[in-house]
Point group: C2
Chain length 205, copies 2
Amino acid sequence: MARPRGFCEEEALDKALDLFWRHGYEGASIAALTEAMGINRPSMYATFGNKEELFRKALDRYVSIKNAIFEKALAEPTGRDVVRHLLRKAAEMMTEPGHPVGCLAVQGAISCSDESEPVRQELIRIRRGHEQQIRDRFAEEQAAGRLPPGTNPEDLAMLLATIANGMSIQASTGATREQLLTVAENASRAWPQTETAVTDTAAAE
Amino acid sequence: MARPRGFCEEEALDKALDLFWRHGYEGASIAALTEAMGINRPSMYATFGNKEELFRKALDRYVSIKNAIFEKALAEPTGRDVVRHLLRKAAEMMTEPGHPVGCLAVQGAISCSDESEPVRQELIRIRRGHEQQIRDRFAEEQAAGRLPPGTNPEDLAMLLATIANGMSIQASTGATREQLLTVAENASRAWPQTETAVTDTAAAE
DNA sequence: TTAGTTATGTACCAATCGGTATATAACTTA
DNA sequence: TAAGTTATATACCGATTGGTACATAACTAA
């Protein structure tokens, strides 16, 4: 009705996202956030509520980007294609120039003080959700008879999620895009083949 | 010479380690640390220097435990045995009852404010060191001709480290010991065969 | 132009951060 | 026991944390 906002809400959110991504939820202070966003504290509180809500709104933007990638990857025709697509995109996204390295859902609040526990739990929920999507997709594969007998879709999904999570840490350790792509390639290659109906149970202690 | 210390230094360090492990470097405050250690602030500062030194000393204990595991695993006869041993032990250590879940070197300071950057760098150095150890061991395998042609020891080491790092995140997400052991087993099984042609006469792939 | 509304800027809040000065209590040695 | 030394406890430090009160500036609608 009256004086219009002097800044673009989504632009500011992207700036906040960048800082949260780079320093984590607790590592990004209100002072640093508002400075990066180019606004002052009262504007931030009036527009976004508080720090936690700001984080959740920035996180929403991040997750929607990630979901778009997931959707494409999960549409691949075979399980192995899904794996390759997903890991490759993960490697690329985690080393995208102009963005902080790694994955916000992994690094945003992996360990924190008790007062940030709700944020930590939210990120856990997101990670589980992504793994669930993969699990469902692999279950489809199995139902269609395209998984080797004895293969467990849940186990495969967990292995894939583990590798993707690990790539985030590797990115944070300084791994290059090329290195992560190599990881993705090797992990894909090692994936159980549809045709490889092996009953290799040599692992029995 | 005079009044002796009223607490066990190593016990206090273990309490600090537990808290750092659980909340990360920044997430563990001096107040919480000293309370957990059962001592007051001046005692902590007189004994350990400051927060960062306290962390490094706690970290030393952690790393020495981990190194013992590494030593045993790297002594396994074949590359695949090394992988299986390492991942299994990782799964167990990251879900050890009585300890926080996950790996301190991964979760201690994965993202933090600028002032904790030295600690973050130290953990990066440790992670790289562990990967280096694996790399060296795989290079031995290759030199002994026990790696499939075209296999790169560096790539293998990075893949293994990625999986181990990912297991830490999974533990933090709530994965059980059994789930992580399944991940370890599946990852080991997917590993490029090395000695199979020699010891087993059976199925090539 | 004027009234009403809303965003912005300054300056502040209590609580907590890591870190210490200081006084006292407890121990060892002589 | 007395002297000397060192650990402990209290109480504090400035800086920073997330969050606001309040006065002012800027806009819209009448």
